[in-house]
């Protein structure tokens, strides 16, 4: 379902300078481990980390693995970030018990689907459920819908996570990412 959509979607055509900005913000925050299930919205950021010899990028089979992996990183004194699509948030819920109950920092950067301008009805349930499910399990949620505010939102979330030992999710809205329309692609 969501996975098929993920693999078929392409990176947005416009240069997302916010990607480069949050790469710098995450480097300044001391991020060493990047756990991710790819999303088109994260592709530029993933390429930046893959080109960075100081960062270990780990591809997961399901997003909840990343929650556990970054708990291990914290136990060993390293900071990490989890990159995922909103559909993957649903895969994480019980695993988030771990950072919540252990007061461990966790920084999640979530690219939204099922949000502004979505064309795929199957993305709606989890997209609309992303914030309430994260808040229900005890994750602090910051949503950003303006490209100019992405970097400062991630910076604030990183400070919150690592200074107060909380799981924090930044939701990057489809207004920032650009909504895609596969129906137009299918006509070509």
């Amino acid at each position: 379902m969501a996975e098929a959509a993920k693999s078929r979607s392409e990176a947005p055509a416009a240069l997302p300078t916010w990607s480069d900005e949050i790469y710098r913000v995450l480097k300044d925050a001391g991020i060493r481990q990047v756990a991710m299930v790819p999303d088109a919205g994260h592709s530029r950021l993933i390429r930046s980390f893959e080109a960075d010899p100081e960062t270990r990028v780990v591809t997961l089979t399901t997003e909840e693995e990343g929650v556990a992996m970054l708990a291990g990183a914290w136990l060993g004194g390293e900071r990490g970030v989890l990159l995922l699509q909103s559909s993957g948030v649903g895969n994480c819920i019980n695993m988030l018990s771990l950072p919540v109950i252990c007061h461990m920092p966790l920084l999640m950067i979530v690219t939204m689907r099922g949000d502004w301008g979505e064309f795929n009805p199957w993305q709606i349930p989890m997209g609309q459920g992303t914030r309430p499910s994260l808040e229900a399990i005890g994750v602090i949620v910051n949503k950003v819908d303006e490209p100019d505010l992405v970097a400062s939102t991630v910076q604030g979330a990183a400070n919150l996570a690592f200074n107060t030992w909380k799981p924090v999710a930044v939701l990057i809205g489809q207004r920032v990412l650009g909504a895609k329309n596969f129906k137009e692609l299918a006509r070509k």
């Binding site: 780990v58 997961l60 089979t61 556990a68 291990g72 136990l75 060993g76 004194g77 461990m104």
Partner: protein
Amino acid sequence: MTNPNALLHRRDVVNELLRDRADLLVIAGLGAPNWDVSAAGDHPNNFPLWGAMGAAAMIGLGLALAQHKRKVLVITGDGEMLMNIGSLASIGVEAPNNLTIAVLDNERFGETGMQKTPTASGVDLAAIATACGIRTSRIVRTMAEVTELRGLAHAGRGTAFAQIKINPEALVFVMPPADGVILTTRFRQSVLGDEALFN
């Protein structure tokens, strides 16, 4: 050894794996593996799980990558491993030298009434680990093999996986602290020093 076909006892296995543990870092999966590791002796370098089923192996990976000079041993159950069996693919790709995963396989969901897990029907976790690229992967049936596994875990010369066939016995619970903040803080203090308390 009186009966070479007898199933191993889980606490004998864990006591042997943790014998002279030195600075080994141990992640214990929820349920009986947690109680087994705690029965071998509460230790600040243990991180025993009380929930988050499916977390153990991946906590081990993140820890092994962060602490590449230390040896990390994950001790978990067959049900817990099966819940995130895909993590063996993630771990097989990263393949840190200092990570060993020991699955205590009683072929049962022990905490919930001893219902059978897929391993009772022949699902071969060691073969799955091999197929995921973990080359040192085996089924363990004897204490001599457990001792060999202990050697691998302490040497840290490659990611290792073992599916240890054990008796489905229900033993008395031996519990570590349940407070996740205590477990996290004392582990970090032990591994990272007092500095960990300040950041």
